[in-house]
Symmetry: C2
Subunit: 331 residues, 2 copies
């Protein structure tokens, strides 16, 4: 085991508290003792025991990031930024996966209370606003990503309605008229899908175009592929997929059917995952500023952790950019 303050104190011939003072950079320590102590510290290669420090201070320096699945590239990319932002505060990040299950989300919200983490960044899928509002626990919580606004906790996301409208407008601007949406969901009282659907509809309505909507259960490639197969019967000339994974699945279906992208069907996604920058054709998409999302989420969490409870929940928007690529523009 490593050396404790006690060992250092013994070696340096001072009290434990003095060593503690040196370690914590307390001002009033005489140069002589400071030198002695520092020598002893480096001699024994002292490392503070963080369990003990945390017990004393009531903090762990660890936050949790709970998201549906780490192997969805969007979330993997987002995690990278969260981890980086947290690292600047010397926080560690434990990652939990909900798989979009209500029960897992409950478990995690509940588990936050066992003092292993100082706060939680949750990317919710299944849990409802009312259930969140009923939370008795006062551990710091930030909701990340697509979610009905004005909920009971701090929240950061892009403006999904406007983003979806922008993508749809892009397709309309290309002269497409039979524009389908792929990615609506039945069970998503709290999620993205309704917001993106609303944006899609707003754009179509503004131009008097008809809508076609395909539903999926989850945002994975194979569901995109399957839903696209069903859509082919409607002969759309453009498809707005509610995320990039769906779009990549859909692209596979279209190309396999011998149709061309974008000549026969223009395709757009949302998320800007790296895959879409290397697919053939490359995928037009809308790129949320993931670094900003992560930074804001961590900042909000820090404010909650440090601050007094009782402040009203805060709503924050992160930016985005439309990335027009080959799947709508052609080569």
């Amino acid at each position: 085991m490593g050396a404790s303050l006690r060992d250092i104190a013994r070696l340096a011939g001072v009290s434990v508290k003095t060593v503690s003072n040196v370690v914590n950079g307390y001002a009033h320590v005489s140069p002589a003792t400071r030198a002695k102590v520092e020598h002893a510290l480096s001699q024994l290669d002292y490392r503070p025991n963080l369990s003990a420090r945390n017990l004393r201070r009531g903090r762990t320096g660890v936050i949790a990031l709970a998201l549906p699945e780490l192997d969805a590239p969007y979330f993997a990319e987002l995690s990278r930024f969260v981890i980086e932002a947290a690292a600047e505060l010397r926080w560690l990040v434990v990652i939990e996966q909900t798989d979009g299950s209500l029960e897992r989300e409950r478990q995690i919200l509940d588990g936050v209370r066992d003092h292993r983490v100082d706060g939680l960044i949750l990317s919710p899928v299944a849990i409802g606003v009312d259930e969140l509002a009923a939370r008795t626990d006062d551990t710091a919580l930030v909701l990340l990503g697509e979610r009905i606004h004005d909920g009971p906790a701090d929240h950061v996301a892009i403006d999904n309605v406007r983003a979806a409208r922008d993508v749809t407008e892009h397709l309309i601007g290309l002269g497409r008229t039979r524009i389908a949406a792929l990615g609506a969901q039945d069970n998503s009282a709290s999620g993205t899908a309704p917001l993106r659907l609303a944006g899609y509809r707003q754009a179509l309505a503004a131009h008097g175009l008809p809508e076609t909507v395909a539903k999926v259960e989850r945002y994975r490639r194979h569901e995109g592929a399957a839903a696209m197969a069903a859509l082919l019967g409607h002969r759309p000339d453009a498809v707005f997929c509610f995320n990039d994974l769906l779009a990549l699945g859909a692209m596979r279906t279209i190309l396999s059917a011998g149709l061309r992208v974008p000549e026969d069907i223009a395709l757009a996604g949302l998320d800007d995952i790296e895959d879409g920058r290397y697919s053939t054709p490359t995928l037009t998409t809308l790129a949320p500023d993931k670094a900003e999302l992560a930074r804001i989420a961590v900042d909000l969490l820090k404010r909650r952790i440090d601050g007094l409870p009782g402040h009203p929940p805060q709503e924050t928007r992160a930016g985005y950019r439309l990335m027009a690529r080959e799947s709508t523009l052609g080569r």
Copy 2:
């Protein structure tokens, strides 16, 4: 703050230790007191303070998983399995990213000592065997993935030489004769690249075929795309990319150049990331059993954490399967 053992004890009219005994399922507690205590526990919604428990027990219940980058799909997929395997032991997993940098790897190895985590699963890139061997620290450590064997710590990986040979044999079996390798590295004393290169060479040598080798710095799509552009001059009829990201980048270059896969150039990768199952054409690859890798890594780590130090480092192999898809077989 939550209730402590003391609060429960007061409410139930017993000693703190009795409550602790109930919480920990100690056998010799009379049914009557057990009931009393359990009532009080649920009444105050008791949660053990894990910082305190950890301080006492000297364990944190948290392990670290350090890998180059979370947004490389292979590592994201692997992380998912590690987190799942750890969850079965009630362990949390903090993720650290090294970005393949030596300094970060050192930092992380060093940081393990501050008692925040019980052990470390490291997927090393830059650090050398000798430096690892010189480690004085005795915190549990497991090396995960491609790495020179017989190092100073437990290690789990697939048999990279054999795997690379199998992929190359597959290409040879298709009748290809100008088979290039994409993904060799200059600086990788400790990594995958030399092993995979060796396997590739073994296969070619066995059939008397000539080799062509393209180097990259890191295993990312854009490097695969760039390296492939350089390879095109050699007019290979098949390319074995040392991982799937390289292959997907290469595929993009080939298709953009107006060549066909696999008719003009057959393409194979290694990793079996999900992207490759939905690219057009779908990507032939070799699929390491990631779930097995993760499980073994966690098991080895558990054994180290529980066990006495001093046992010799253990070498373990995980299985793999060749997934022949369109990029070599055609439709």
